[in-house]
């Protein structure tokens, strides 16, 4: 598979591990922002093969994990209404709301459909003119152009039965919030490759400068991740703090201008609560005035939602890199992928799920032979 296989070449991977070991002289803690990167690291065992001085702190780059509890509860309320077809990406279906998840709503008769793309949801709306079709528009900046496009097309085609429940989150304000936290141990960031394909990386330059942290744009295949780590260690060891691009085949400094244009047309910046972290100002996108009539939260007036987070869930601490998943007392006991307490255990990219599923915490059970 072109552009995939070459970047999984084991000989080159081992070479990079060797080089990283050669240049690392001191402990360094770096954060990979993107859940897809966390997934790749844990699934391939990259963290196991790095020199012990290098610590990878898993960041809050999982849009499924950070969607605010209130928004999940709104989704559940909308999806439960008769005459609604609720379309969503697969990962969202098992995210726990205050008292249930979308799967449970489906089992009680809610018409919930998994879609691969927001364009599929538009098709559902065209095919079902007598129903209200709602699309759960979550994601980081990578997914925003697609969601923006769906909204633009819906308006242009006069699809009156289509609306979107929007919960977009932005990376740079999150990095800023993390760096301002007094308990932050992060010394460098591996920036999310595909977010940067869309947004470019110029937004990170003031952050690198202000907080003296190297920020290296990093991809997802083993070679790409190691390339990002390698250049990050080079900077840390030599005391530099610059923004560098280690995913040059897919990212340019200015990003994708046509995509940015459509997002500006449809969205406006807003304050956003990140589940488990709290409110980060100006860290989200919502539909702007021109497209607000397609906002499902307004159309369905899902009113006073009283949220109830699990009292023992420590997703927030995991998302901020303060603890590793297996350090949470509920990990593997009250909280497992089949009965998750928080979103980090549900999403396939959530750090807790990755740790559990790929066994960063192997419990040697006494199984009777």
């Amino acid at each position: 598979m072109k552009y995939l296989t070459e970047f999984r070449n084991n000989d080159l991977v081992q070479k990079l591990f060797h080089e990283i070991r050669q240049i690392t002289t001191r402990p360094w803690a770096m954060m990979e922002v993107c859940g897809g990167q966390t997934h790749s690291i844990i699934r391939n065992g990259i963290d196991q093969l790095l020199p012990p001085e290098i610590e990878l702190i898993h960041g809050p780059g999982c849009p499924v994990c950070v969607t605010p509890l209130e928004t999940i509860d709104k989704a559940l309320a909308i999806a439960s209404q008769p005459n609604v077809i609720f379309c969503s990406f697969g990962d969202m279906l098992r995210v726990p709301g205050s008292d249930r998840d979308l799967f449970a709503v489906k089992s009680q008769g809610g018409d919930i459909r998994i879609v691969y793309s927001p364009l599929d949801a538009l098709k559902v709306a065209r095919d079902n003119p007598d129903k209200q079709v709602v699309f759960f528009g979550i994601g980081f900046e990578t997914t925003a152009p697609a969601n923006a496009q769906a909204v633009v097309v819906a308006k242009k085609q006069g699809l009156k039965n289509f609306s979107m429940l929007v919960s977009h989150v932005l990376v740079p304000p999150a990095i800023e919030a993390l760096m301002q936290s007094p308990t932050c141990r992060v010394q460098a960031f591996l920036a999310a490759g595909h977010v940067c394909s869309v947004m470019g990386y110029w937004q990170y330059e003031p952050l690198a400068e202000k907080y003296h942290v190297p920020i290296v744009v990093t991809g997802f295949e083993p070679l790409d991740v190691l390339n990002g780590i390698y250049h990050t260690v080079l900077q840390l060891e030599s005391g530099r703090h610059e923004v560098e691009n280690a995913y040059s085949r897919a990212v340019q400094r200015e990003g994708n201008l046509p995509a940015q244009k459509v997002m500006q047309e449809v969205f406006e910046v807003c304050d956003r609560t990140w589940r488990g972290i709290g409110m980060i100002p100006q860290s989200g996108w919502q539909l702007n005035a021109a497209y607000r009539d397609l906002d499902a939260a307004i159309r369905f007036q899902v009113g006073d939602i009283r949220t109830q987070e699990s009292s023992i869930c420590r997703s927030g601490d995991v998302l901020q890199g303060l603890i590793k998943p297996h350090q949470c007392p509920a990990f593997g006991k009250e909280c497992t992928p089949s009965k998750p307490l928080g979103a980090t255990m549900v999403s396939s990219e959530g750090a807790c799920a990755a740790y559990y599923n790929y066994g960063r915490f192997i419990e040697h059970e006494q199984v009777a032979p």
């Binding site: 084991n10 081992q14 844990i42 990259i46 489906k106």
Partner: protein
């Protein structure tokens, strides 16, 4: 009557007051239903062995008995149909006990409005599949439900076969040192279905691998008396089957990712949908756990059979991490191959 309030076991079923789709996915939720609902209710040693079929002693002979229901949508897909699955599925369950499959029943639940032509095609396909598998359909049943209550057609097949003397094949027999073989490429069937559902076009379409494995198993049994476990990795894929076996036998399993046979188009489809071939259903493949000294010979015999040409040695049974399955990753790390929870959902993010 199950007293839900006084269970002492960990609470998986209590978290779901209703059946959800995941309960049919072949992963942990399905197993929870079996372990916490069915086994306690029916309570006998033959059921508790939890193989895909039951091995029963009747009048001095050993009878294999198995049942399977088919609800797949779409009814027809590249490489097969619900009819092929229905016959081959039960034939394979019997073969996995080491039995010679002999007789099948076919029960159908038809939805009012199903075109007679469709039914006719499916019945022809059932007959053809039975002939290919060398079994006879000897009894059956048909019911019709109101339009809107049945999703066109559901098929159940049950089957019986005879287990020759001296054959003892069961999940509990896996022991440390055994080698694990797979008869061919993994993930074909599940991705064939997924691609029709997701509207993926293919230059060469992914075809389901639905096939009767009794011929291949017979060849393997002729070659070696040290085949300890056979399993056809259907729903939940290779990962779920091996996890079940590891747990049943109280052993660990260590796989090598570099050895998994996967067709390039299946690998590409999995990339696109964010799925892992290890968890995708197969309908014409088997896993064999065999004594190490016979592994090469059995592999050779498999390669000679049309259904085993891509057979590979993918791992071994170990005494570490009992009950768990691990895999060496392509770059030399180790990861756990965990039990799937419900059904595998296409990952997008």
């Amino acid at each position: 009557m199950i007293d839900f309030d006084n269970w002492v076991c960990p609470l998986p079923l209590r978290d779901y007051p209703y059946i959800v789709m995941g309960h049919g996915g072949g992963g942990k939720l399905s197993n929870d239903l079996v372990e916490y609902l069915f086994v306690p209710a029916f309570h006998n040693p033959m059921l508790s062995s939890l193989a895909d079929g039951a091995a029963l002693s009747v009048g001095g002979q050993r009878l294999a008995f198995s049942t399977d229901s088919y609800v797949v949508r779409p009814l027809f897909f590249p490489g097969g149909s619900i009819a092929d699955l229905a016959i081959n599925g039960t034939v394979n369950d019997l073969a996995m006990l080491g039995a010679t499959p002999l007789f099948l029943s076919v029960g159908m639940i038809l939805e009012e409005g199903l075109p007679m032509n469709t039914l006719g095609s499916l019945v022809d396909l059932l007959a053809a599949a039975a002939r290919t598998a060398n079994v006879q359909v000897v009894t059956g049943d048909t019911k019709v439900v109101d339009r809107g209550h049945g999703d066109q057609i559901y098929i159940n097949t049950s089957g019986v076969g005879l287990i020759p003397a001296g054959i003892d094949i069961a999940p509990q027999n896996a022991r440390p040192g055994d080698k694990i073989l797979v008869s061919g490429t993994i993930g074909d069937h599940g991705m064939a279905i997924m691609s029709v559902r997701e509207g993926l076009e293919f230059e060469s379409p992914i075809r389901s691998d639905s096939a009767p494995l009794n011929g291949l198993v017979a060849d393997m049994l002729q070659c070696s008396t040290a085949i300890h476990v056979l399993r056809d990795p259907t729903r939940g894929g290779v990962a779920s089957s091996l996890n079940e076996i590891a747990k049943s036998a109280g052993v660990g399993i260590a796989l090598d990712e570099r050895q998994f046979p996967v067709r390039p188009e299946v690998a590409a489809a999995c990339e696109l949908l964010g799925m892992d071939p290890l968890y995708v259903a197969n309908e014409g493949k088997l896993l064999a756990i065999v004594a190490p000294e016979d592994a090469e010979a059995i592999l050779e015999v498999m390669h000679q059979h049309p259904l085993g040409q891509d057979a590979a040695l993918i791992g071994e049974v170990v005494s570490e991490h009992r009950g768990k399955v691990t895999a060496r990753t392509g770059i030399g790390g180790t990861r756990i191959v965990a039990m799937q929870i419900g059904e595998q959902l296409p990952r997008i993010c």
